[in-house]
Amino acid sequence: MTVSVDIEQRLGAFGLEADFTSSGRLTALFGPSGSGKSSLISLIAGLTRPGRGRIEVDGRVLVDTEAGVFVPKHKRRIGMVFQEALLFPHMSVAHNLRYGRWFTPPAERYARMEAVVGLLGIGGLLDRRPGKLSGGEKQRVAIGRALLASPRLLLMDEPLASLDDARKAEILPYIERLRDETKIPIVYVSHSVAEVARLASDVVMLSDGKVVAAGPTAEIMQRLDLLPADEKGEGGAVLETAVVRHDEAFGMTVLGSKAGEIRVPRVAMAVGAPVRLRVRARDVMVATVEPTGLSALNVLPGTVAAIDPGEGAAVVVRIDCNGVAVMARITRQSRQALELAVGRPVFAVVKTVSFDPATTAAGPRGEIDG
């Protein structure tokens, strides 16, 4: 399954010029607001037409301006989950869910009602009216409605942006299940590093209507220089780890990764389960000798792979810990005092309590580095 897009579109003063190909399970279109993410997803869904270009999904050409091809949205079989759920207010939840199914040719219906309802935990809502649902419930129903049309590709346009943190935390596990338990590829629009690092297998980073980087999540998340200003603090390394054991006495979980064992606050996952860990660069300290008499529990040996100039007082040190990059955001003064240079052996130090539910999430299955 591959999505390939090469389009140009002008909307007043704003120009969108995007060219990328992704075959990831969940591709995030990531960038600050106004960078063209939503315009791009509207083009893939067929809600708008590009001025020039070509869009191909799974070998099927949906748009080709040169050949005069434009498949209308109702024939694309591309599901879309909007930021504002957009459930039909005059239908019950059950009718909303069945709406798309009705328009899908019987031979192509792969989504089963019971399976989708179970996956999203919406069995108790079927007789309700959309007006009586909470924001999180609405969004789960909207996801179910899109799935039941048996789409070839699922587009999600900032589905969590209008929800508060508690509702976000309620929905994220369902999107993870969607990514891991269904075969349907997802393109997910977001401006949040936390969501992208947690969910995405691949990232296409946009800025001012242009693609500035594209590739696997762990790689793109290291490009702190590309992150939107208000999200820089969230950037860092993304590690695929697995639960080694739980330390019940101290309420901790030990995760195994290529970089070494990492202790995090207890997570509710079974031993062996994959965990995707985001190590924020601002949470990482650098030591040139193995520290003793220190409260921080995670000390990962490595060597300095690169030092990126940050803005203001900071620099970003990239530490290669047994093949895994860990990023540390430290002051220029510290860098000078420690005489950090590429190739120097160092230790990356991370406090266990700096990890929280926003940085420890169920990882995609079958993609563990450790």
Binding site: H74, M80, H90
Partner: protein
């Protein structure tokens, strides 16, 4: 309270005729009303301003002018009138059908305005969502847009009905005041006020007018509330 039973056959005819004319006018203008409202709300075409003006003309013209225009275009010897008579067998002049046509045209701008407003308040992203679920634009209209504008359609239909119940100027100019054929309630009341001793009859018909109009309002309120509840808009 035996004044109701004292109604003369002519008065009864006026009541029955008014209800028939208003109902037919309302039902017949509903489909074109929806179509024109849709064009005005969504369409982008040359001459939209002109269409909007033409639809609203009956609202601003003196009703007598509208009636006279109908007379010179739908009269039996007028081009449009004779064409309709020879092809479809429909005669408007000096018939109750003509009264219904006059009432429909007079109420049309009110109906179109109400429906147009409700179409404009439909979130177009709901229609886009239906499209991504595989619904052809026609199905989107039937399953999403149309149900969402039901309250506006009810409001428009009731306005049209109420206007038809009270229409006088255009009707009397176009189809005159023939008892049993074109004499609606307002025409009958007018006739009573023109003859000595007609006050009692005028008052009876006035009361009946009030009852029918109030009834229509109550029914429309109830229908709109039911439709609104079904929509469940927070």
């Amino acid at each position: 309270m035996n004044w109701l039973t004292d109604l003369t056959p002519d008065e009864w005819n006026a009541v029955r005729l008014s209800i028939k004319v208003a109902t037919v006018a309302m039902l017949a203008s509903l489909p074109p009303g929806i179509a024109i409202a849709f064009l005005l709300a969504r369409g982008r075409f040359w001459g939209k301003t002109v269409l909007n003006g033409v639809v609203h003309l009956p609202l601003v013209l003196p009703p007598v002018v509208t009636g006279y225009l109908l007379l010179i275009s739908f009269g039996r010897r007028a081009p449009l009138g004779s064409f309709l008579e020879s092809t479809l067998g429909i005669v408007f002049s000096f018939r109750w059908t003509g009264a219904a046509l006059a009432c429909a045209i007079m109420g049309f701008p009110l109906m179109v305005r109400a429906i147009r407003l409700s179409i404009e308040s439909v979130d177009r992203k709901l229609e886009a969502a239906a499209g991504t679920l595989g619904a052809h634009p026609l199905w989107v209209f039937l399953t999403v847009t149309l149900p969402l504008i039901v309250p506006g359609m009810i409001a428009g239909a009731i306005l049209s009905f109420a206007k038809a119940m009270g229409e006088f100027g255009a009707t009397i100019t176009f189809v005159s005041n023939i008892p049993g054929e074109t004499q609606t309630l307002p025409s009958a009341i007018y006739t009573f006020t023109q003859v000595p001793g007609g006050d009692e009859g005028a008052l009876r018909l006035t009361l009946i007018s009030i009852i029918i109009s109030m009834g229509a309002l109550v029914v429309s309120e109830a229908l709109a509330r039911r439709a609104g509840r079904r929509l469940d808009i927070e």
